[in-house]
């Protein structure tokens, strides 16, 4: 590690580590991340990063492992009633919150009651209030949650990093808002301080219930906004891990002897949606023509510098119940033929919007524009800034007049399950402004499949419904699935046990520093 004796806080800590006797060395890790944290309260956060950071001090009843498989964390086991309405959850015993109080079923009740109470005005209120009817503490180690309607993805929702167990004592002490500045959980690290402009620091929880963990003494989460600067702090050793790493920095950092560049698989799907309620996209042949006209390999290579793979279905691999259907082939002749059959032998003019305005989206839309040009479709590109995106796409009130045509956007199913990968994007009751069906796609078959899948708790049944839904969607082509992104991160060779998870969150529980 190359560090001069600078007196920056983190460098000083690292230098301290280097000078102490190795066996007793303080292990302090710095993570350089891309944006500021909005809050430490996962029920009030809507960004993956804040929730990922909060995993240092909070844990849920369930969680995801680094491959997004659901694992029990504070829960021991669960049973669901036959009708899929009542979930009885057995809790682990002997776990304490950082404030010394015991983790018991009353914590489950306190946390879920808090988020389902509209008076608390939490950002994730809707997600919970939609399905939870009531939560009861049966005894100290048993919680019972009753749903309003059967929702078979419920355990995945409990595994999502937003469903965490906050100490009820701390909640009562600090109140609904100030808990965000005084987080008290059961996690491997205790909250130390949050200097909003600079960093958030957590320190080892000596009494952590998983023996032998955590292996480092502290983690400093440091937002470094500019991506070049993030690469620079990795090179100087001021940080040991950074995500996301811009593609153009990958080669430089790969060349460094003390750094590893890691490209991890993700469940982030990038796609092009077509407004199926508007001419000419109401004609399936036009949509298929567009799908054939786009070379997904080229998109992955040019826009993502190769750090993406052509999408081979509607739901990306890694999401539960996803089906691999195959990459939509690139065939210009066939595309032209389909367009002629549809009555547009000379193509047409249309709008191509992007929901992002960063440089990747810029390159990507240009590639799409060129490829669509080949079959005579002339597009006008607009990269929407966040505010415009909300106004013109996400909160457009009247579906009949929606101005969106071709629209480039992406999604990752935060519950790691097919329901949240399909329903918000393709169910007919998810048209904007409700959710994000920007294709204004409506298929009774798909709607039926989504509904049936939620009603059954039988896994093979569910898989069948979701397979059917994905295949129908693929055939109807309301989208052109483009690519599945890879997540590029860089880490010091001395660091181990940190993983970017497929949804862009982090798995840090095993973090260690040599």
């Amino acid at each position: 590690m190359k560090i001069k004796s600078h007196s920056m806080l983190f460098a000083a800590l690292a230098v301290g580590a280097a000078m102490a006797v190795p066996a007793y060395a303080a292990k302090d890790v710095v993570f350089a991340v891309a944006s500021q944290f909005t809050t430490t309260d996962p029920y009030d956060a809507n960004d993956t990063l804040s929730q990922a950071m909060a995993k240092s001090f909070y844990e849920g009843l369930f969680g995801f492992d680094k491959d997004m498989k659901v694992i029990p964390v504070l829960a021991e086991s669960y049973t669901a009633s036959k009708d899929g309405l009542v979930y009885t959850i057995k809790l682990k015993k002997g776990i304490k919150f950082h404030d010394g109080t015991d983790f018991k079923a009353d914590a489950v009740k306190a946390n879920l009651d808090r988020v389902t109470n509209p008076e608390n005005k939490l950002k994730r209120y809707g997600l919970y209030n939609n399905n939870i009817a009531k939560t009861e503490a049966v005894d100290d180690s048993t919680a019972r949650i009753t749903l309003k309607t059967p929702f078979s993805a419920f355990i995945n929702q409990l595994a999502h990093p937003s469903t965490v167990m906050i100490s009820p004592t701390a909640l009562a002490k600090y109140g609904n808002k100030d808990i965000a500045f005084n987080p008290v959980g059961t996690g491997p690290f205790k909250f130390v301080e949050w200097k909003q402009t600079d960093y958030l620091k957590v320190a080892k929880n000596e009494n952590y219930w998983q023996k032998g963990l955590p292996k480092v003494d502290s983690i400093t989460w440091k937002p470094v906004i500019d991506s070049n600067s993030r690469a620079a702090v990795m090179q100087t050793g001021e940080a040991q891990f950074t995500y996301p790493l811009p593609y153009e920095q990958a080669e430089t950092l790969k060349a460094k002897a003390d750094l590893d560049v890691v490209a991890a698989p993700s469940i982030i799907l990038r796609y092009l949606s077509m407004n199926t309620q508007q001419k000419p996209f109401d004609n399936p042949k036009v949509r298929q023509a567009i799908a054939y006209a786009i070379n997904k390999e080229a998109v992955a290579k040019i826009a993502f510098s190769g750090y993406a793979t052509p999408a081979d279905g509607i739901v990306p691999e890694g999401v539960e119940y996803s089906v691999k259907i195959g990459v939509m082939p690139y065939d210009v002749a066939k595309a032209k033929q389909l367009l002629t059959e549809a009555g547009y032998p000379n193509g047409f003019e249309t709008e191509l919007w992007s929901g992002y305005n960063h440089s990747i989206a810029q390159k990507l839309t240009q590639v799409l524009q060129q490829q669509l040009q080949q079959i005579g479709i002339r597009t006008k590109i607009t990269l929407l800034e966040a505010g415009q995106r909300v106004e013109k796409v996400e909160s457009w009130q009247d579906p009949a007049t929606a101005p969106v045509r071709l629209y480039y956007i992406g999604w990752s199913s935060s519950t790691g399950e097919a329901d949240w990968a399909i329903r918000p994007l393709l169910a007919s009751d998810s048209w904007p402004p409700k959710l994000f069906n920007t294709a204004y796609y409506k298929s009774d078959k798909v709607d039926g499949d989504i509904k049936s899948a939620l009603l059954t708790t039988d896994k093979t049944e569910k898989a069948k419904f979701y397979k059917d839904a994905q295949e129908s969607i693929y055939k109807d082509a309301p989208w052109v699935p483009l690519v599945t992104e890879k997540l590029l991160s860089a880490k010091s060779k001395r660091l181990s046990g940190v993983y970017t998870m497929p949804d862009g969150s982090f798995d840090i529980i095993n973090v260690d520093l040599k």
């Binding site: 001069k4 806080l9 809050t39 950002k123 959710l435």
Partner: protein, 306 residues
């Protein structure tokens, strides 16, 4: 003089009121629903409605403005939509880092800029002038983000002499203040030079020389003082700009200042923070102009205010 200052300060009030109205209207005319943005990608319509209510955005515009205006009078700028902390706290935390960076950048750039300008004027059209003005033109033309990245790459990454990001010790100030001050130093050099060149041809300089004063006294005592007036004006203006927080420099060096706060706020449609910052910037400019006017009188005693 005192009367003048008090009068100017009173004149602040209508200006600020107009600024407040303009800012409020402008910010609310931006496209995009802040409640939708704040609620995030997973949010359901019920959640968005809840967020809107929480942020007070469901009230009619005039009511929102009255709430904003009365709040400001009581020193309450509202709460950030993003972090839910008071806007005054958000801004206060970031004010000093920007302030110190500005002072550091101004200090060296004014000194160097004036030195180069003076030398260039004294040796007009000879090699010190050529070198000085070449430097100045480069300083103006070189974009700050490129300079910042270049300096960081050389001094932090390659040589490992200085830290890359943050604002903890004096060493952290070196690279950002050089980056920030480069353009200012260049402007200062050019202003000083042109102002000096004019003055060196004035009668009283000839008189001073005719008296047999050494050239350094002529230049420093008689020339510099009189050349300062336009330079001070420019200084004030630049100071005002820098105090707004240089977005580019603060982003590149991860400086915890107001420039970064502003882009974050615009990105998230954080109305209260944008309003607070713009109001603050307006006050800063007005105050700096006032200070500059007062400085004129100090530099040139023939200037009187009534």
């Amino acid at each position: 003089m005192l009367q003048y200052i008090v009068r100017r300060l009173l004149g602040l009030i209508p200006t600020l009121l107009i600024v407040a109205v303009l800012v409020f209207m402008f910010v609310h005319l931006l496209p995009g629903d802040p409640a939708r943005l704040a609620a995030g990608p997973d949010a359901t319509p019920a959640t968005v409605a809840l967020v809107r209510q929480d942020l007070g955005l469901d009230k009619p515009l005039p009511e929102q403005f009255i709430r904003f205006a009365t709040g400001v009078l009581r020193g309450d700028f509202g709460r950030s939509l993003r972090t839910k902390r008071p806007v005054s706290t958000e801004i206060a935390e970031r004010f000093m880092p920007t302030m110190w960076l500005t002072v550091a950048a101004m200090a060296w750039s004014v000194l160097i800029g004036m030195a180069i300008g003076t030398l260039s004027a004294v040796w007009r059209n000879r090699w010190p002038d050529r070198v000085g003005m070449t430097l100045a033109v480069s300083g103006i033309s070189f974009p700050a983000f490129a300079l910042g990245m270049l300096l960081m790459q050389i001094f932090a990454v390659q040589l490992n002499w200085l830290p890359t990001v943050g604002a903890d010790t004096w060493r952290h100030y070196i690279l950002p203040s050089v980056t920030l001050g480069a353009a200012v130093a260049a402007i200062m050099a050019r202003f000083t030079r042109s102002s000096f060149v004019e003055i060196l041809q004035d009668d009283y300089i000839r008189t001073a020389r005719a008296k047999g004063l050494p050239e350094t006294v002529v230049v420093v005592k008689h020339g510099l003082r009189n050349a300062l007036i336009p330079v001070v004006t420019m200084m004030g203006l630049q100071f005002g700009f820098l105090l707004g927080g240089s977005i580019v420099v603060e982003v590149v060096f991860n400086w915890p200042g107001m420039g970064r706060l502003l882009i974050d706020a615009v990105d998230m449609r954080d109305y209260p923070v944008i309003q607070g910052l713009v109001l603050l910037f307006s006050v800063e400019f007005i105050l700096i102009n006032l200070i500059v006017d007062v400085l004129y009188a100090v530099i040139n005693p023939t200037i009187r205010y009534r």
